[in-house]
């Protein structure tokens, strides 16, 4: 909780969020919101303005944001909606709500330097195309130093935990609209 407030403040976001007059331009153009009515950026900002941060962090649907930045471009109050959701995701991650894929990828990046490694077949294809070997990446030592400096192990622990409470499904309109 503290971290979310802090990180929002660090990036100067709560003050901007207060300017929101709930016009709905963000939700109106959201490519995710079209298919998932329980993903409503306007409502997320409303929750921030009303101080309902705890509830917002626990909403699993915030992870559906594709960060296409349409809302950010459309907002007449220049509120960086997508940015704010990114920070909410950070706080949500610390409660263990992050999708497994994200956590696994982060693990790969911090332990091996890359989000994925080329498989043998791909290396062969690279060779066939006459491409040079991929340049050597960050060394193991430096990765360790980085992880240690960022206190990464502790962070990973928080990402992997799951809260004991039952995760609430967001209520408003369940599921997808009729096609």
């Amino acid at each position: 909780m503290e971290n979310l407030k802090e990180s929002l403040i660090e990036f100067d976001l709560p003050k901007r969020a207060r300017a929101c007059y709930q016009c709905g331009a963000c939700t109106g153009g959201c490519p995710v919101g079209r298919f998932r009515w329980d993903f409503n950026p306007r409502r997320f900002i409303e929750m921030i303005v009303r101080g309902q941060l705890e509830e917002l962090i626990r909403k699993p649907t915030i992870w559906l944001c594709s960060h296409c930045l349409t809302c950010l471009e459309r907002c007449p109050q220049q509120i960086e909606v997508s940015e704010i959701i990114m920070h909410v995701k950070n706080a949500s991650a610390q409660r263990g709500y992050a999708p497994e894929n994200d956590v696994k990828m982060a693990d790969r990046i911090m332990s091996r330097g890359w989000s994925e490694e080329p498989i043998k077949r791909m290396l062969k294809k690279r060779n066939n195309l006459g491409l040079p070997e991929p340049a050597p990446g960050i060394g193991a030592e430096e990765l360790e130093a980085l992880a240690s400096s960022l206190d990464w192990a502790a962070k990973m622990e928080t990402f992997k935990r799951r809260e004991t409470e039952v995760r609430e499904a967001d209520s408003e309109t369940d599921g997808n609209p009729a096609e």
Partner: protein
């Protein structure tokens, strides 16, 4: 080309691991246009502007700053995601002394310094701003006459417009001029900036495919023969996942997807095999053969000039 450009090459994780043909076409085209690409050693994932950034801002910014600090020359990236990470990181560090200090402490422990200024270039922007459609047209040996395509700009090259300040964030047309310069025709289609949905895959596979389907459907309805794009994530979603989408929604799309550098490569006379076009999941062979004539479409000899 009279100018000589020097960049540190940063293909990004996805291209490096899964899309060697894109790296190939990019290297070929950039080098043909006078760009000297040096290898960037010791780099890591940019890191991923969605899947990593959404877990921890501090770690994301630190890794990004570290990558930027490695580059002795400006970085040329092939991926809109990497471009987004680097530009957002530069912007955040520029705006906040507090962040500079905090991230600086991490970099200190690695014996590195906080980078300053803007040192990143997206290959497509480079092609438009530094090479330009006119110069590109002069280099074309094999105009792609008769090819009708649609351009998918992707979300992170033009947005956020306040940071990138490149083209209209709702209807960008600059990069399309590069495709016109190759002799092809770029078709209009509605909702050009609609997100392909790749980034949602981690959270909801069905939703992601649904978004990809909508995008592909709209593009197909425009009458285009192919899609052109500039981001490997979009490439994976629209090319690699196209069959999945076809299956999921019981439809036939068969819409070839090209990276901008691949089309340029073809127009500059490179052979489809040299460009690695066989590595596309959606078969581009029929279209390429139609474009270049059956013989040329198949072999990798020295390209011939087409009138």
């Amino acid at each position: 080309m009279t100018e000589n450009y020097e960049y540190c090459f940063f293909p990004g994780c996805l291209i490096r691991a899964r899309l060697p043909h894109i790296e190939k076409s990019a290297r070929l085209v950039l080098e043909r246009l006078g760009v000297e690409l040096s290898e960037l050693e010791g780099a890591s994932c940019c890191p991923n502007p969605i899947y990593f950034r959404d877990l921890d801002h501090e770690a994301w910014l630190t890794l990004a700053a570290r990558n930027l600090s490695l580059a002795e020359k400006p970085i040329m990236t092939l991926c809109s995601g990497c471009y987004s990470t680097f530009r957002d990181a530069e912007h955040a560090l520029e705006k906040s002394a507090k962040l500079r200090h905090k991230i600086g402490e991490h970099l200190d422990r690695l014996g590195r310094k906080i980078p300053s200024g803007s040192r990143v270039e997206h290959f497509a922007r480079f092609l438009f701003e530094k090479v330009g459609p006119a110069m590109l047209a002069e280099q074309v040996l094999r105009p792609l006459k008769g090819l009708k395509v649609v351009f998918h700009p992707g979300c992170h090259l033009v947005r956020p417009s306040r940071i990138h300040e490149f083209d209209d964030p709702d209807n960008p047309t600059k990069l399309e001029e590069l495709v016109w310069a190759l002799g092809a025709e770029v078709l209009e289609y509605p909702r050009k900036m609609l997100c392909c949905g790749f980034t949602v895959m981690g959270a909801d596979r069905d939703l992601s495919l649904r978004m990809g389907f909508e995008k592909l459907e709209i593009m197909k309805d425009s009458g285009a023969q192919a899609v052109v794009l500039v981001c490997p994530s979009c490439m994976v979603q629209l090319d690699r996942n196209q069959r999945l989408i076809e299956q999921e929604f019981d439809t036939e799309l068969s819409l070839p997807v090209f990276y901008l550098t691949e089309l340029i490569g073809l127009a500059l006379g490179e052979s489809p095999d040299d460009l690695g076009l066989g590595l596309h999941l959606v078969n581009v062979r029929p279209l390429v053969e139609e474009l270049l004539g059956a013989e040329e479409g198949r072999d990798s000899d020295v390209p011939r000039v087409r009138s």
